[in-house]
């Protein structure tokens, strides 16, 4: 990988400064020679004092505008109520305070900047200056000195000779960060089988998300879409978010003759099927149900499942079908679960199997 295996002549010839540098004159020998920095040309402001005065006034005007805008900002802050909505074309019905504060603050800052730049552009010298660059690499003497110093220091420490010290020190330094890593252990519990279980149990009623009432089989019509949670899970519960993230159900009713998958029909109640609402890709709540095609689409990454065929994946990045919950009807006509999901809901993971 060293540079030695590329011959020097393959590198382009550098245009050495002494060949035709800044001082060289374009002549017959070097038609492309560097003519050097072009002569400085004056701006209007450099030669016409009136123009310069105009620039000065423009800069002062901008700075004054900035001061006025800051006064305006404070006035707006005090005067405009925080909840006042105003109509401003073409922005729409917007917060008057936000608009006023933003515009005045923006103007106050922008005018300072515009003033400073205008000042620099028109009144400060615009003569271009060339500055020499110096090589970043150290001179050979410096390089040699540093190497020698280092060797001296290393020798004096006797690190190379006293191997016992070196090895134990490296060992100690390697081990000591482990404490820091071990301390991270209590960030969270071990996975165990948490991802495999949901709140669903045999006999748990399917509760309508909209009404908070248990669903009857007769409530669910063909072509409708309903979302359900397990009985007993309330929005105010401490664990609500974690539980609903696994237990959320999507209930649709198909004509039993439309169901192609045998198990799906068996696990349904007269065509009412209950599928996990959580996508098997990365866990978005999937629920874009098309009642004519029986397809359900995930709005996040467009995995598409066929609810009439065991919710198998027909498009997109999901790797396996949506888990189905086996349901039935109790004596009073309410839909109930006949057990937990028989596979983990949501995204796949290493231990899923």
């Amino acid at each position: 990988m060293s540079s030695q295996d590329i011959p020097e002549e393959n590198l382009p010839a550098e245009r050495a400064a002494d060949e035709h540098g800044a001082v060289s004159v374009a002549d017959e020998k070097h038609p492309f020679a560097d003519p050097g920095l072009p002569p400085h040309e004056h701006r209007i402001q450099d030669i016409d004092e009136r123009a310069a005065k105009r620039s000065e006034r423009a800069v002062a005007f901008l700075f004054t505008m900035s001061m006025l805008a800051t006064v305006g900002f404070i006035a707006a802050f005090v005067a405009i109520p925080v909840d006042e909505i105003v109509y401003i074309w073409p922005l729409g019905h917007i917060s008057g305070l936000n608009f006023a504060l933003g515009m005045t603050l923006g103007l106050a800052l922008f005018c300072i900047g515009a003033g400073a730049v205008h000042w620099a552009r028109t009144l400060m010298s615009d003569e271009e200056i060339a500055d020499e660059r110096h090589a970043i690499e150290a001179s050979p003497e410096d390089r040699a000195k540093v190497h020698a110093d280092f060797k001296q220091g290393a020798k004096e420490s006797a690190l190379g000779r006293r191997k016992l010290i070196r090895n134990t020190m490296l060992g100690a330094l390697t081990l000591v960060p482990l404490s820091g890593i071990v301390l991270l252990r209590d960030l969270g519990p071990l996975p165990e089988d948490k991802l495999r279980h949901t709140l669903w149990r045999r006999g748990k009623l399917l509760v309508n998300m909209n009404t908070d009432e248990p669903l009857r089989a007769s409530d669910v019509t063909v072509g409708s879409l309903t979302f359900a949670k397990p009985e007993g899970l309330e929005e105010h519960d401490h664990e609500f978010q974690n539980e609903i993230a696994k237990a959320a159900l999507m209930i649709v009713r198909l004509e039993p003759k439309d169901i192609k998958d045998k198990r799906e029909l068996e696990w349904s109640h007269e065509g009412i099927v209950a599928y996990s609402k959580i996508c098997t890709h990365v866990g978005c709540p999937i629920s874009l149900y098309e009642q004519q095609t029986h397809h359900v689409l995930c709005p996040c990454h467009q995995s598409t499942f066929d609810l009439s065929d065991g919710a198998r994946v027909i498009f997109g990045p999901a790797g396996h079908a949506l888990p189905q919950l086996r349901i039935g009807v109790n004596d009073e006509g309410y839909l109930e679960a006949l057990g937990d999901f028989d596979e983990p809901v949501g995204p796949s993971f290493w231990e899923r199997g």
Partner: protein, 545 residues
């Protein structure tokens, strides 16, 4: 000691107050020796050299507004019932994080403005870094001695992405929560350790009650702290290396031509900070960003269509959307390739651009310093590669917004996804070939201009009836500028046998390098620039036009 005393006694006599203060500081900080080299430091003028300043200033704006926001934000996931002033959410259960963001937006005077400045500045910061990186890439400014600064910049871009992600996840709204859920799903897809990392990061099952406060310390402390260090390092190196410049009359690899820091750049760069800040403040006055109140609080069983991350994560989103759902189940374990491959690709895709300077310097074998920028056309293979990379990036951005693209251009979302799947492989190849052709064409035109002058568009009829287009000869400045670039010769492996007729062993890496070098600098891959002899022959031979 003695020098200080004499200086003190000298200044006590009649020095103005400012000088006295400076002397005082110099005695303690040594500011004069620092200022000696830097006060009149030269900066070349070009608009594209200010892209980095846009990034720096938006970063400062983000820090200033971010500090303000921390005064009002509660990084807590405790569920509370909302009773603030935004009517359409009253009585809803939400986390304190979400509720306090609503308070910042509706009850704190100016809070909404600061939130919007913070977020718009973040969008501009990342976009600015992207464009700044492209400028550095296409002009070859990453070459020696600036490779480390390229890496600093690259790290800033990547850390900026994650700081942005942790930031927009803090309000715990329905959109960002969906993004966090996606992240958790992606973590789960990591083989072997995924489930453990997820449990540790979220303090248990998703969403748990911890991620907002954990993201908060990552967002306001850990990542910005590292970034601040990198920014300082980046700037020190910019000062130390001195800025690059484009070729032109009087500009060599050994000098830097421009205007001095004091006063011109102090005013221009200082002024530009105010311009950027003012501009973003006005943007935040007129355009709404991340209106979390219409998104609603996060619930893991709710979602909205059009669920996208901020633009800088869009390309990761595209990868994940375009990927087919591959999943392997073996020996009781699941390998989620459908998610894991995009994760790996994400790293590789960014990594290749980070390592590019080292790849190129290996191919050229060039160990010299470079301070004169390349025009992109004069490095056709590099430019082609860069455009191919950007093309792949853009196609993935389209993939990340495939639903919005579908609805707004009346296309099928499935077709858009297929376009992205194919385009990711075909697009960069086409872009590479087309770009390289264009570059070579432009090189030919440059050579033509040098030898024959500028086509003036004026048609002249000669006495004997021939029509010619009048060519204006180029000025000396233009001639120099157009021929100032360097051209490498392709590396050769050398003869297959050595002088004794014994077969020489050529390492595979050397063969690869010779091949690559040929692809960069071979006969058809760059147009030889005109030589002085050619020019003289043409101008003396029939110099009438």
């Amino acid at each position: 000691m003695s020098t200080t005393t004499t200086k003190d006694s000298r200044s006590r006599e009649k020095a103005p107050a400012g000088e006295k203060v400076a002397d005082w500081a110099d005695g303690r900080l040594g500011i004069y020796s620092l200022a000696k080299a830097n006060m009149r430091k030269i900066f070349p003028d070009h608009w594209s050299f200010m892209l980095g300043e846009i990034c720096l200033y938006s970063f400062i704006i983000i820090i200033l507004t971010g500090v303000y926001l921390t005064l009002f934000f509660h990084p807590s996931m405790n569920e509370i019932e909302y009773h603030g002033s935004y009517v359409p959410l009253q009585g809803q259960m939400m986390s304190e994080a979400f509720a306090s963001t609503l308070d910042i937006s509706f009850d704190v005077r100016g809070g909404l403005l600061i939130r919007q400045i913070h977020h718009w500045a973040a969008i501009v910061f990342l976009a600015g870094m992207f464009v700044h990186m492209m400028r550095v890439f296409f002009t070859g400014a990453f070459r020696k001695p600036r490779e480390i600064n390229w890496l600093f910049g690259f790290l800033l871009f990547v850390l900026g992405m994650f700081t942005g992600f942790t930031g927009y996840s803090l309000p715990d709204d329905l959109l960002s929560g969906t993004g966090v859920r996606f992240t958790q799903g992606a973590i789960l897809a990591t083989p072997i350790v995924g489930t453990y990392i997820s449990m540790f990061l979220f303090g248990g099952e998703f969403p748990g009650g911890d991620f907002v406060s954990r993201f908060y310390s990552i967002h306001i402390l850990l990542l910005p702290g590292i970034m601040l260090g990198l920014v300082v390092g980046h700037l020190i190196l910019v000062f130390y290396h001195k800025h690059t410049q484009f070729a032109g009359p009087g500009k060599t690899n050994k000098n830097v031509v421009g205007m001095p820091l004091l006063p011109v750049y102090m005013a221009k760069a200082g002024g530009f900070f105010f311009l950027v800040f003012g501009f973003i403040a006005m943007l935040s006055a007129v355009a709404s960003i991340n209106p979390i109140w219409v998104l609603g609080p996060y619930r893991p069983d709710q979602v909205s269509t059009g669920a996208q991350p901020d633009w800088y994560m869009g390309f990761a989103e595209g990868l994940i959307r375009a990927m087919p759902g591959w999943e392997i189940n073996l020996w009781g374990h699941t390998l989620v390739l459908g998610v894991f491959i995009p994760l790996v690709l994400f790293g590789l895709f960014l990594g290749v651009i980070a390592l590019y300077p080292f790849i190129e310097s290996w191919i050229t074998g060039d160990k010299r310093e470079h301070h004169i920028l390349d025009r992109p056309r004069n490095a056709p293979t590099r430019t082609g590669f860069g455009v191919a990379w950007v093309t792949a990036y853009m196609i993935m951005l389209i993939g990340g917004g495939n639903d919005i693209v579908a609805t707004h251009f009346h296309l099928s979302i499935n077709s858009v996804t297929w376009f992205v799947r194919i385009g990711f492989f075909v697009g960069p190849v086409v872009a590479f070939i087309v770009t390289k052709r264009i570059c070579l064409g432009l090189q030919r035109r440059d050579a033509d201009k040098v030898l024959h002058g500028r086509e003036s568009g004026i048609i002249k009829r000669l006495p004997h009836g021939e029509f010619i287009e009048v060519h204006e000869p180029l000025s000396q400045e233009a001639l120099h500028t157009l021929t100032a670039h360097e051209q490498y010769k392709p590396a050769e492996i050398g003869p297959a046998v050595d002088e004794n007729g014994v077969e020489r062993k050529v390492k595979g890496s050397q063969k690869l390098r010779a091949k690559l070098s040929n692809a960069y600098f071979g006969e058809d891959n760059q147009i030889p620039k005109p030589t002085a002899e050619e020019y003289k022959e043409i101008t003396s031979g029939h110099g009438h036009h």
